[in-house]
């Protein structure tokens, strides 16, 4: 019996193995062509003039400010979305209310809406000529559109689904008895949330947050419309790169691109690391 089985395996194993190799190599080649190759090209281009020229390109005041604005707006958005996204996920998991399913599908909309359209929507809503935009400018002396708050607003819209979609399944699969156990041990609802629920969802919150951060860092479409692109004040790195490409300065464009990419890569690696650690614990 044992021998027959071995023989059969040997006879039929050649074809599946070839298919296996074929699939593996086509996947690897596809990945290289699609992702690795452009990465190499831009790295080479960014460092073509040597490390000092690269350093000069990215430390130019306009470039530095653009990178800085990109990072802080994305970071601020990440913090806000981590809190509000978790809250939304909590409401969606914990409560029943009319229109819940409708709202639940609405959340993914920012994934699908063209980012340019997002920009246009924000201008129509908060532009200086609109009632809301005008009122805010009168009351608080603050401009939303054509300024950094507009950038954050656009990024908040884009990043909204990330944290929710990361936290929602974790919250839904949370063992309710763990919370009840904490209650019987004397813990209040708040303490139970802080000590039992929060540690359980924190990795998902961070993962969602980091993903939205990486996504926001390179956002172009909505920002180019909303921010006004004032160098040193409301110009983000992505828009800066676009400007440099337009004016033929490819070296500067690729240098700043390289910085953005490095940040995105680090973020992605961090997400991967966290996911690994989480599965090791589960």
């Amino acid at each position: 019996m044992m021998q027959t089985r071995t023989l059969t395996t040997l006879n039929t194993s050649r074809t599946p193995q070839m298919i296996f190799w074929g699939v593996r190599w086509s996947a690897l080649i596809y990945l290289s062509v699609l992702i690795a190759l452009p990465l190499i090209v831009i790295s080479v281009e960014g460092l073509r003039g040597g490390i000092w020229s690269f350093w000069d390109s990215i430390t130019r005041p306009a470039a530095l400010s653009a990178i800085f604005i990109s990072v802080w707006t994305a970071a601020l958005m990440t913090v806000i979305n981590m809190i509000m996204g978790t809250l939304t996920a909590y409401v969606l998991v914990q409560y029943r209310f009319p229109g819940k399913r409708w709202l639940d599908s609405l959340i993914d909309l920012p994934f699908a809406i063209p980012t340019l359209v997002t920009g246009v929507m924000l201008i129509l809503l908060y532009g200086p000529q609109t009632p809301i935009g005008g009122w805010i400018e009168d009351q608080f002396g603050m401009r939303i559109v054509f300024s950094s708050p507009g950038i954050v607003l656009a990024l908040l819209f884009l990043g909204y689904p990330f944290v929710i979609r990361a936290v929602q399944p974790v919250l839904a699969s949370l063992d309710i008895h763990q919370q009840e156990a904490a209650y019987t041990l004397g813990a209040s609802s708040w303490l139970t949330f802080r000590r039992i629920v929060f540690p359980a969802i924190l990795p998902a919150m961070i993962t969602g947050g980091l993903l939205s951060f990486a996504r926001a860092l390179g956002e172009f479409g909505s920002i180019v419309i909303v921010s006004g692109n004032i160098p040193m004040r409301s110009q983000t790195a992505a828009v800066y790169i676009y400007g440099q490409v337009e004016s033929g300065n490819l070296a500067a464009a690729s240098s700043v691109s390289l910085v953005l990419m490095a940040i995105a890569l680090l973020t992605t690696l961090l997400v991967d690391y966290l996911a690994r650690r989480r599965t090791a614990h589960a």
């Binding site: 009840e180 904490a182 209650y183 019987t184 041990l185 004397g186 000590r195 540690p199 589960a282």
Partner: protein, 357 residues
């Protein structure tokens, strides 16, 4: 009285889950609530712990009315069926959690955790996370966590349900030993009658949200008041009978009425014969108890330590358990005619209770 339930009631919409249950449990007692799944036994436990709000009735723990108190203030230890340990905390941290909440000083907390780890025989495993522990170890940590604050009452919801049969037997003994040592009043919920027999000081049988009867394992096994109890606790041969004068009539046969059954005179009763209390002989003179009549063997089956013999007595089918040695000695085979006798039998008022499960 340690736990006092008065007419407690819980329903969801039209569905009644706990139906007017009253129960008194003594200090230090290990009480087992036994019933099929969906009978409402777990809900009773949750009502006592305050995890499910009560619709009607009262719950007192050690004379203190806790009916309206939140779970935080009831002072009960609860062990969940799947243990529900805090996954991101070590065994030690799990056990210490309740003490931390109560702001017990660190040194005292540490001493208590060490003591409890010793109690559950896991001194060396305090630093492990739940996912690094076996099911049985997780269960013991859950028990230790529930005991950490020295609760007045310990509630266990099917604590052995998720374990292998082998480990189950050992953990049962451990739990009983711990409970006896600490003297903590305990209610354990289970659907396993063997577990109930082994652990319980007293058992409460529940079905369809109703507490049918309460008694020691022996009482409930030998003299149940309800048909459901008779059939749920082991196997029972039950036949309609009636009692008149000093005799019980079972079809054409009559047997002496058991003592203390006068009150059943004249009403429809059922006679309960446990399979192991029926004897088989080739001649009626060999029987030690009362003669039931002559029957035909229809089936023989191996049942571990005993042999299960199915016999037909007129139009009634009976299950009988005898020792394999006796079976060999008698040399019985299907189709043989044998005599049946009975040494112990019990009468219960006909009460075809129709509950859930």
């Amino acid at each position: 009285m340690s736990i006092n339930l008065t007419n407690i009631h819980k329903g969801y919409g039209a569905q009644v889950v706990v139906d007017d249950v009253s129960l008194e449990i003594e200090s230090g007692e290990l009480f087992v609530l036994l019933g099929p799944s969906g009978s409402g036994k777990s809900t009773i436990l949750r009502l006592i712990a305050g995890l499910t709000p009560l619709d009607q009735g009262g719950i007192a723990l050690h004379g203190r009315d806790v009916s309206l108190l939140p779970p935080q203030q009831r002072g009960v230890g609860f062990v969940f069926q799947n243990y529900s340990l805090f996954q991101h905390m070590t065994a030690e941290q799990n056990i210490a959690f309740g003490l931390e909440v109560k702001r017990v000083p660190r040194s005292e907390r540490q001493a208590r955790v060490t003591e409890l780890l010793q109690l559950i025989e896991m001194e060396t495993m305090g630093k492990r996370y739940p996912h690094q522990l076996s099911g049985g170890q997780q269960q013991r940590v859950a028990v230790a966590r529930a005991l950490a604050q020295r609760p007045e009452v310990l509630l266990l919801d099917e604590p052995f349900g998720a374990l292998d049969v082998k480990i189950r037997a050992q953990l049962r003994q451990n739990l009983r030993a711990i409970q006896t040592q600490l003297g903590v009043t305990t209610i354990l919920v289970t659907h396993d009658q063997e577990e109930a027999f082994e652990l319980a000081d007293r058992i409460g049988v529940i079905d369809g949200g109703k507490l049918l009867e309460v008694g020691t394992p022996d009482q409930l096994y030998r003299a149940p008041k309800h048909r459901f109890t008779a059939t749920f606790l082991g196997n029972a041969n039950l036949f309609p009978a009636h009692r008149n004068g000093s005799k019980v009539y079972l079809g054409d046969q009559h047997l002496p009425a058991p003592p203390d059954t006068d009150h059943l005179t004249g009403q429809p009763v059922e006679m309960m014969l446990r399979p192991e209390s029926i004897e088989i002989a080739l001649n009626p003179t060999d029987l030690k108890g009362s003669v039931l009549g002559q029957a035909t063997v229809t089936q023989l089956a191996f049942a571990g330590a005993l042999e299960r013999v199915t016999v037909q007595l007129e139009d009634r089918v009976l299950q009988v358990l005898i020792h394999p040695a006796q079976s060999r000695q008698l040399g019985i085979r299907p189709g043989d005619r044998i005599w049946l006798g009975v040494q112990e039998y019990h009468l219960l008022a006909t009460n075809h209770h129709s509950g859930a499960g």
